[in-house]
């Protein structure tokens, strides 16, 4: 589609354009990097000369003061705790999501009956019940893990159920007719065919777990990340605030990238 159009455009380009332009046309990644650097430069320039330093810091200052941020008592511990909550939440969401997804996906009747309920629950704005999670599980790690699980398990559930349902019935019938037991069908037909959708579910689940854990972390302002974000906001320390938020964004990017790579790797064999 678009890609073939682009290739055609590039193939036609060299005769008419200068070498640098030609090189840039062949390396869109370089232009992308230039765009990012340009945005950072605008931010740096605006923050240094035009904007109020009580509310925004230039990126260079943020970068230089990261060591000071990590020197702030409790910040590294809060970041580690968040990472731990995401990890535990992701494992729990995967186990619960895959378990229920399999149970619902394997039976035709169960799928018809319970899938609408799961989709309905998934569609609810879960953030409205965040205060209940904190009341029930307290302000510690438990409430954040629970909220992450409740956000992450539905996409996994739906992907696993869809993956099981999508398996070609011919494969199941032929496996059965060749005398495979129910367990053998599960291990040798259903599981291998589920792998790509399962990893898609994991990627969406990770997005959900990150959202849930971070929402809960920001909501609870007496402990963890939320404590520091509200402290830095009240004491007008944009440098530390931007640094902390960037660290969390970095964690999110790395975790997303891991599951995305896994999805690409394990989703490939079928196509």
């Amino acid at each position: 589609m678009a890609v073939t159009g682009a290739d055609a455009g590039i193939a036609a380009a060299p005769r008419t354009t200068a070498p640098l332009k030609h090189w840039l046309l062949q390396h869109p990644g370089v232009t992308r990097l230039a765009v990012i650097l340009l945005l950072l430069a605008i931010w740096e320039f605006a923050a240094r000369f035009y904007l109020d330093r009580d509310f925004i810091s230039p990126p260079s200052v943020v970068l230089m003061s990261l060591t000071a941020l990590f020197g702030t008592k409790g910040v590294p511990a809060a970041l580690w705790l968040t990472l731990y909550e995401i990890a535990v939440g992701f494992v729990l969401a995967t186990v619960i999501g895959a378990g229920i997804g399999l149970a619902v996906g394997l039976g035709r009747f169960a799928h018809r009956s319970f899938m609408p309920i799961i989709l309905l629950l998934y569609g609810l704005p879960q953030v409205t019940i965040l205060p209940i999670f904190v009341l029930v599980f307290g302000i510690g790690a438990a409430s954040k893990i629970a909220f992450g699980v409740s956000h992450g398990m539905f996409p996994i559930m739906i992907a696993v159920a869809a993956g099981v349902q999508k398996i070609n019935p011919v494969l199941l019938t032929s496996a059965r007719s060749m005398g495979a037991s129910r367990t053998q069908v599960l291990y040798h037909v259903i599981f291998p065919h589920m792998v790509p959708t399962f990893f898609t579910g994991l990627r969406l689940g990770m997005t959900g777990v990150l959202l849930g854990v971070l929402l809960a972390e920001l909501y609870v302002s007496t402990a963890g990340i939320g404590y520091f974000t509200s402290i830095f906001t009240q004491s007008l320390e944009p440098t530390k605030l931007i640094g902390l938020v960037s660290m969390l964004a970095l964690i999110a990017i790395v975790l997303n990238e891991i599951v995305r790579r896994a999805e690409l790797h394990y989703g490939r064999w079928r196509t």
């Binding site: 589609m1 678009a2 890609v3 159009g5 682009a6 455009g9 590039i10 046309l25 869109p28 232009t31 992308r32 765009v35 990012i36 509310f55 925004i56 035709r108 009747f109 799928h111 018809r112 009956s113 319970f114 899938m115 609408p116 309920i117 569609g123 609810l124 704005p125 953030v127 409205t128 965040l130 205060p131 209940i132 904190v134 009341l135 029930v136 349902q165 997005t207 990150l210 959202l211 971070l214 929402l215 920001l218 909501y219 302002s221 939320g226 974000t229 509200s230 830095f232 906001t233 007008l236 944009p238 605030l241 931007i242 938020v245 969390l248 964004a249 999110a252 990017i253 997303n256 995305r260």
Partner: protein
């Protein structure tokens, strides 16, 4: 679920019954837990109380100021992200090279939970609606711009060339070739954008705000008025469901056009 039409009526009826039973069992368990087993009403208020509170909230019109704030933030944020996302997406989609440069960039940022930037937005724009509008617009910008790029970027080249060779000018090209081909994808993106705007507005109201439905729920939770809080949750869920179904109708109408 390709077997829907073929399945016997009895099986369809049975699964509907099972769904109804599931909901009924939940309600009965809720009633039993609060009225018979004595679960503390601070953790779980009785459904009867919640119902009375819900009726009270609607009858007294107490929800109106909060609803107005939330909907105002929602539509302002959505208008900004739609205007920016569709315009920018359209211009990026006009060049295959720009698609290659910008699409991965937008997709990468889209993968970050942008709610993270809420503290920063609050520092810059304060606790009022402005920070919620800015955050909602930021979050929904990405699905909208990405789907606009995909929608306009994938228009069949043959169609464009054919229209061009038949003498279509730019306006005609946009109106009769590009727009109809791209509309379904763009509409799907707008829908996605609307949903995430709604969630981010309620979410940021929950975390830090001065007014709005999310703020009201937190406020009631902090005052331990659980029955009224549950009533508000039910109310918000109903509003979200209503907005979603209106959106589905609009999307279906847009596709049909």
């Amino acid at each position: 679920m390709n077997g829907d039409a073929r399945e016997p009526f009895a099986i369809r009826l049975a699964s509907r019954m099972l769904q109804a039973a599931f909901v009924a069992v939940l309600l009965i368990l809720w009633l039993l837990a609060t009225n018979v087993w004595g679960v503390s009403s601070i953790l779980l208020p009785s459904p009867i109380n919640v119902w009375h509170q819900l009726v009270d909230v609607i009858r007294t019109g107490q929800f109106i100021p909060d609803l107005r704030v939330t909907l105002g933030e929602l539509f302002a944020a959505f208008a900004i992200s739609t205007a920016l996302g569709v315009t920018l997406g359209y211009f990026v989609s006009r060049s295959p090279y720009f698609i290659k440069v910008f699409e991965p960039l937008f997709a990468a940022i889209y993968a970050i939970p942008i709610i993270l930037f809420l503290p920063l937005y609050i520092l810059i724009w304060g606790l009022g609606p402005a920070s919620k509008i800015a955050l909602g617009a930021t979050i929904s910008f990405f699905p909208i711009v990405l789907s606009t790029i995909v929608g306009f970027g994938q228009v069949d080249r043959t169609l464009v060339t054919a229209a061009r060779s038949m003498g279509a000018n730019n306006v005609q090209m946009f109106r009769h070739v590009l727009l109809p081909a791209a509309l379904p994808v763009v509409l799907a993106g707008l829908r996605m954008g609307f949903t995430v705007t709604l969630l981010s507005v309620i979410g940021s109201e929950t975390i830090a705000a001065l007014a709005g439905l999310g703020h009201r729920i937190v406020n009631l939770a902090e005052n331990m008025e659980m029955a009224r809080m549950f009533a508000y949750i039910v109310f918000v869920v109903a509003i979200v469901a209503f907005l979603n179904s209106v959106l589905s109708m609009l999307e279906a109408y847009g596709r049909w056009r």
